[in-house]
Chain length 633, copies 2
């Protein structure tokens, strides 16, 4: 490893697997996921330092699950506020407002709540985890040119190691301000190339990368540089947002509230510590011809004044001042493409912009990164052809379009000033319920593709292939300890093969399970065919067996030794003897006593389902998108 | 702060609030608890370095609760193995062994399992937490003399700051071996005296302490120095213990098993990682006249051989060798006294020795420390007279005696070789069930005393005053977030005043609650009478209100502002809208709709119960053991 701070150097050239432009939630998440996967990654950001307040704050239940799969949920939940209940308020005929509905925020998720935490603190969590992989944000640093090799053989090369993207970085100005402390560290374990620190002043940093990812926000430089358009439009709705510690006699200040009144619309989102965030519809604001508004006409005091009108007769004051505020026009756009030749990608706000009120932005952005990370890792490891990367745009652009469609409906219902007798408020509540699973994230569904095979869906009729696998309690056979299945599915880039043999203590199912165990090492089976030559069996596939056996009948001897690489790998779908939890997995997954095999993708989504004795079908599934004779181990 | 490493210095003198001799679980726990309480504490140990394997390993559910109250359970649970199920095995008539019973290990506790983790790792958890308070173990260092002032006025002094205990410490030898790195650090925040590092070689360290605590084990130097006897006797039962990673076809290797056979008795305790601990009854061993055995006649191979006989027809091998082993005679003794003039105390094994098989030793030791810590802090802060310290021996010696009585019965049943037709095994299983709550810890009950007032027990008929308060889910009023009540009762040396007003949304109970709020600042009320002059109201008393109100009727306005120093302080006994948990606290505590006030001691034990409108009774309770006109704030 080398580090070069020479001041006379004006252009340094280096190589990297993946260069990420932008260290917001999407870029940081991607850097973390790739760093964990052992990919040599660099990440730069144009800002002088991390943001410290404001910006996004909502984390949906599915995103908490994703954080958990990276081991980050514990810290998130310690720091964040929980939104467990929604309240709806409307004008009372005699004046003032009244609560019409009080209902749980979340249904059908592992975490029965949304959380809110300032984007800056989300970024802290991600950066701290990145740094454990030796990845540090280099800032301030901006790209000034980007080019992609036009040599098709280089772009498609599998056995050589092309670096077809050339990007030139530099400090945004010759400023002498101090950069943050860690921006030229390199990873001692995972990185194999030399990373050079940029010299101060006008020195340029020429980077040759296998892949470049633009995570540089709604006004993405990368997106512009490669000529990707944003498709969509702005609305006429102008909203203001303000964060503060309130003084109020309003009783529902610590739950999520939508307030629809004749004097205006307002939304309250409780935040970490004693903060709340208030959104108000600013209504009739003149929008310039460029689609931008003159922010100078509004300050936080004006935003608070509108909120105070909605709150009447309750008081709402900000005696400690404002933590952060902004004004925005709701605009809904999706990038026309998410990638150029599978070498340059965009993620996050660079791909999609929409209104913030459903708390989707940061989730959508980080889920883009989560979706892309394992695919990049597989292609870079030569485990999969580059066509696997096509599924990133296929899956995430469809999601973005669905999100924009939802947002259009939602933002309109939210922004219209109710009039006596209209059903706007009722339609709003109804829409919230209809789109709940999508908004919360567990309803997001990827369409059928090479990696999402719905052929045998009926074998697990309670599952939706292409959705994330639902949570469930299972019990370890050896010690009767209950586990949440999700905790056994870390985002470690491995496919999880869940073998559900029915009741393995019954001779018929035991015989079938023994047959699976005997067949699993077949040279033409998926395990030997796709696992890199010479690598351990659990390199790409993590096998977990879950028998539908009551506690008293279960013991470790029921599961064939071949399926117990360790005693901790065998589970039962049974109720625990003490708390009486568990025992509902087969039923909720719609798996009969004939059993099933469920293939869970590295990102936690269900990739396919097969019959218990149909290992051949599993092999066919993986052949769709994996190399069967890996070049390297 | 000073530190002196001069080699010519042969005697340094310093002052400290509390000097702890011995850094095993009892001493380390006490140092942590006192360090957290801001007490200037030093702790020394005769060992060259920390132990690294073997010794105690069992942590009972109540002890997990105590760890949680110090914020340490998360790490404990991450590292430890969980024991959720017990199995009992006996000889089969045709040879070999069979399982007769499989049952949950724990009933009626917050944590439905015991955990096992090597004592060394428990000590790591405690030391890391101690070090956050600036307290570091000084080792190797031994006491060589101990003396207590005989000046009664000094011993009883309240307004001056006597240091009546003089103790001389030195390194155990002139060894030049390197001490561990942190042994002369001092606490920058809490410590007000100078701590001097001991010089190397024969240099002496003269310490003048307010209090000295001997946590120096079964052969306690402190206990001998002050002439406290151990009362009790040895048995004839000799047991061997060995820790190893097994290779075995025995199906129940990862649960707690008691195996009673005609070929011997054996017990298996699964441990962290892949270790197990095996206890075997070595039977007819010659005990020397001094009550000690010749350990040389046994090694781990002999212990394993006995276990193998019990295991037949299952195999039990230790292919990776042994992690730790020992041989011991079961002896049951309790110290005749736990204190000398409330200035010198003994805790842990120095107070009580018994058989290890019920997994009690480390729990009893740390609970001694937990019981003593807050009392020492109160007396040192001049919040309570020294008579409060009488309750340490009163409570913990009674517990130790109960433990020895249980252990005598248990060890006998365990060590007797069963004969066909006897009912020994059945009696053993029955005893395990009878003593379950005591063994698990939540059944431990302190007798009535100045700090345990059973007068109004009928007001909360589901509680046992003198036991730890049972766990329960309550819901925060402001945001509908469920909390385990225990998580609101940290070991922060404060009394927790739980106000249960019945349904505060009903006018009658609301009026009573308003009256409590109005009365709480009365100059003669407990809050003003005992809180140190000038200190914040929540210095000694943390007030939490729990209304028996359904979610839909509850809002923060129901609870009087005086009882909501922060919105997070008001709760309801209600079911959550999403998961449907909670709503059972009043019922399980046996509190009627008339309400109650429960006073929870700083150690989590129920101190007293009063009627909702009977603040006077609460004042009387505290007057029993607190100074009503504190000398210092």
């Amino acid at each position: 490893m080398m580090s070069n701070h020479g001041t006379d150097v004006t252009a340094l050239e280096s190589h990297v697997d993946v260069l990420i432009i932008g260290a917001g939630p999407a870029g940081s998440f991607l850097a973390l996921a790739l760093g964990r996967a052992g990919v040599h990654v660099r990440i730069v950001d144009k800002k002088e330092a991390k943001i410290t307040s404001g910006h996004a704050d909502g984390i949906q239940p599915r995103m908490i699950e994703v954080f958990q799969s990276y081991g980050l949920a514990e810290r998130l939940l310690k720091e964040a506020a929980q939104l467990r209940v929604n309240a709806y308020y409307v004008s009372k005929p005699e004046g003032g407002i009244m609560r019409t509905i009080l209902e749980p925020t979340v249904k059908g998720s592992r975490y029965p709540f949304e959380v809110t935490l300032a984007q800056s603190r989300i970024e802290d969590i991600l950066r701290d985890a990145m740094e454990e992989c030796g990845v540090y944000v280099e800032q301030p640093k901006v790209p000034i040119s980007l080019s992609l090799s036009e040599d098709e053989s280089e772009l498609q090369s599998r056995s050589s190691e092309p670096y077809p993207v050339k990007i030139v970085l530099q400090r945004p100005s010759a400023s002498t301000r101090v950069e943050n402390g860690h921006n030229v560290h390199t990873n001692g374990a995972a990185n194999t190339s030399t990373v050079l620190g940029s010299a101060s002043g006008a020195a340029q940093d020429i980077v040759r990368a296998k892949y470049v990812v633009g995570a540089d926000g709604a006004h993405s430089w990368v997106r512009s540089a490669v000529g990707i358009d944003m498709v969509g439009e702005s609305t006429k709705f102008v909203w203001g947002v303000v964060d503060f510690v309130p003084e109020s006699d309003f009783p529902d200040l610590r739950i999520s509230c939508a307030i629809h009144t004749e004097h205006g619309n307002c939304m309250i989102i409780p935040r970490e510590k004693d903060l709340i965030r208030v959104y108000v519809h600013l209504g009739d604001v003149e929008v310039g011809e460029d689609g931008r508004i003159n922010r100078l006409q509004f300050g936080p005091d004006e935003i608070l004044k509108v909120a105070q009108k909605c709150f009447y007769p309750y008081k709402l004051l900000a005696p400690q001042g404002f933590d952060w505020w902004t004004v925005y026009i709701v605009g809904q756009r999706v990038a026309s493409s998410f990638s150029v030749k599978n070498r340059i990608f965009i993620v996050g706000d660079a791909c999609h912009t929409h209104s913030p009120k459903a708390g989707q932005g940061m989730n959508a952005s980080m889920n883009d990164a989560h979706n892309l990370a394992w695919k990049l890792a597989y292609v870079m490891r030569h485990w999969a052809p580059s066509t696997l990367l096509d599924t990133y745009e296929f899956e995430r652009r469809k999601f973005a379009q669905d999100l924009i469609d939802f947002d259009k409906m939602f933002a309109t219902l939210y922004s219209v000033t109710p009039k006596p007798g209209d059903k706007n408020h009722e339609r709003f509540v109804e829409a919230c319920n209809t789109y709940s699973a999508f908004v919360l994230g567990h309803g997001v569904q990827y369409e059928a593709s090479t990696i999402t095979d719905i052929t045998h869906a009926s074998i697990a009729s309670g599952l939706v292939i292409g959705q994330r696998i639902p949570p469930g309690i299972i019990v370890q056979v050896a010690n009767f300890r209950p586990y949440e299945l999700h905790d056994l599915l870390p985002s470690d880039t491995r496919f999880k093969i869940l073998i559900l043999p029915g009741d393995a203590s019954k001779p018929k199912q035991k015989a079938k399970l023994d047959a699976v165990a005997a067949e699993i090492d077949h040279p033409e089976g998926f395990l030997k065919r796709f696992t890199p030559a010479g690598a351990p069996d659990d390199t790409m596939f993590d096998i977990i067996t879950i028998s539908h056996t009551p506690c008293v009948a279960a013991n470790t001897l029921v599961i064939p030794p071949r399926l117990q690489s360790h005693w901790s790998k065998s589970f039962m779908d049974a109720q625990t003897m003490c708390e009486g939890i568990g025992g509902n997995l087969y039923a909720s997954y719609g798996v009969s006593d004939a059993g099933a095999i469920i293939v869970c993708r590295p990102d936690g989504y269900i990739g396919m389902v097969a019959a218990l004795d149909d290992l051949a079908e599993i092999g066919k599934y993986f052949a769709n998108f994996l190399h069967s004779t890996p070049v390297t181990a």
